[in-house]
Amino acid sequence: MSGLEPDELRPDGIRPDELRRLLFEAVEPIRSSPEAYNRIRGGVIRRRRMRVPAMTFGGLALAGLIGFAYVAIDPRPSSNLVEPARPPLTQSVTDTTAVRASSQPAGHGGSTGSGGVRPSATPGRSEPAVTATDASPGPASTATATRPSTTPSNVNSPTLPPPVSFPAKPGDIDGDGVIDSPSLSGSTIVVALSRLGTVSVTLPAVVSPLTASVVDIDANGYGELIVQTDSSGDTRNFGVIRLAPNGQLQVVSGSPLHAGLNGTHGDGFRCESGTFAAVAGDNTVDRIYSVTSTTWQLTKVGFTKVGSPTSSTVDLASAPSPFTAGCGIA
């Protein structure tokens, strides 16, 4: 019992010892229940039994939450799976024609004998930017006859086998990972494709000996053939030839690929990832050039500018010349 304290002896309050007595008297009738001890023991046993299921349930709930959080926060990117099935070649006019022909009833699509629904590849078909100028009848028809069947899922290139990598390996035109070697016969370029056979295309002019490179400019899995067609002064002009969905070589018109210094003007180009940059510069003073760089992309309609040209100043006395041919051209 604690003693009385002065601050507790208030004139208007109750004396602590009196309060203590009243409290004890008030609760004196209370006796413990005879069942109390059994209830406590029962509660102890019940709590012991519930501990394991409660911990198990809690663990499972926590695991479920972690799993849900993982799925919600880190969704699997679906583009990784879809991306290979969408090579830019699928956008070509030829593709559209081929798909349309395939959807027609049998007999309307121009059967070639080996595949009833495959459309006939008609050279010189109307296309604004992409022109198939020529295809040697003999070798081309051989290549067509031995071409593997089209993969149904590859709707973007109905007649070409799917490429093995994106972009294609340098030197690989038909997308099988094997280097295809071009050769020149007159103004006709002949390429022995490793899986499609020999194909050829005739250009108005080709510089001999052949100056060429195979680079996948548009990163669609099929390499493009860059060929020097002619020169004007010290500037070399290049054309681009690509493999059409029908398995033939097509010259892409309107090539912006020029390289070299000609008087006070210079041109050059270099390949980048899926695009290429063409630079053109004019001499201002001494060896200082005002250079404009334009990014191009090879699309279904041909060469298309990407973004706005950028301008800069290059001093050839101290910086490497941008007026050179890139993309693997020596």
């Binding site: 019992m1 604690s2 601050d7 507790e8 208030r10 208007d12 309050g13 109750i14 602590p16 309060l19 203590r20 009243l22 409290l23 004890f24 008297e25 008030a26 609760v27 009738p29 209370i30 006796r31 413990s32 229940s33 005879p34 069942e35 109390a36 001890y37 059994n38 209830r39 406590i40 023991r41 029962g42 509660g43 102890v44 046993i45 019940r46 709590r47």
Partner: protein
């Protein structure tokens, strides 16, 4: 290693069972009376005290100073009484009752308690003042111990006690 920990757990369980029995026989009735003074509903006081015993038993292995088991038990009673008052729910209402309800032997006694003027006056006090008064003058705790149970400062206990005594005096005078 697992065998040793299992043996240790068994020993703790045996200790807890023995301590539970000892604490029950010595302090159960006084704790029920303490709860009866703290709660508005006297029917809940035994349930609160029983639950406090169950909790102390479950926490027996974590008690650092087992000589203070009574203090821990008393504090658990006060905390549970607070929760009951605050929420007006039966403590651990989710736990099923272990035995069929038997008629409480204390129902008549509770009626007597309800009639006591000091209990009626006590119920009209604010909760903190009531706790301070009961812990100081029924549980006979020092101001420091009462402060520890109430989780407040000694000064607060003094203030609550002083105001509680003053209010009780006025109320009891009015009841007479």
């Amino acid at each position: 290693m697992p065998a040793r920990s299992e043996a240790a757990r068994s020993e703790v369980a045996r200790d807890a069972d023995a301590a539970l029995t000892a604490l029950y026989s010595e302090h159960y009735r006084s704790l029920v009376r303490l709860a009866a003074l703290l709660l508005d509903d006297l029917g809940l006081c035994e349930e609160v005290v029983q639950d406090a015993y169950i909790r102390v038993h479950a926490a027996w292995g974590r008690l650092q100073d087992r000589d203070k088991a009574l203090a821990y038990l008393r504090q658990t009673v006060v905390n549970l009484a607070r929760s009951t008052l605050r929420r007006r729910l039966v403590a651990l209402k989710h736990a099923p009752k272990p035995m069929p309800d038997a008629a409480s032997a204390e129902e008549g006694a509770y009626t007597l308690v309800e009639r006591a003027a000091v209990v009626q006056a006590l119920r009209e006090l604010p909760r903190r003042q009531r706790e301070a008064v009961v812990l100081r003058y029924y549980a006979d705790l020092s101001e420091a111990d009462a402060a520890a149970v109430m989780r407040c400062s000694v000064g607060s206990v003094k203030a609550y006690t002083s105001r509680g005594l003053a209010a009780l005096g006025t109320k009891l005078e009015g009841l007479r």
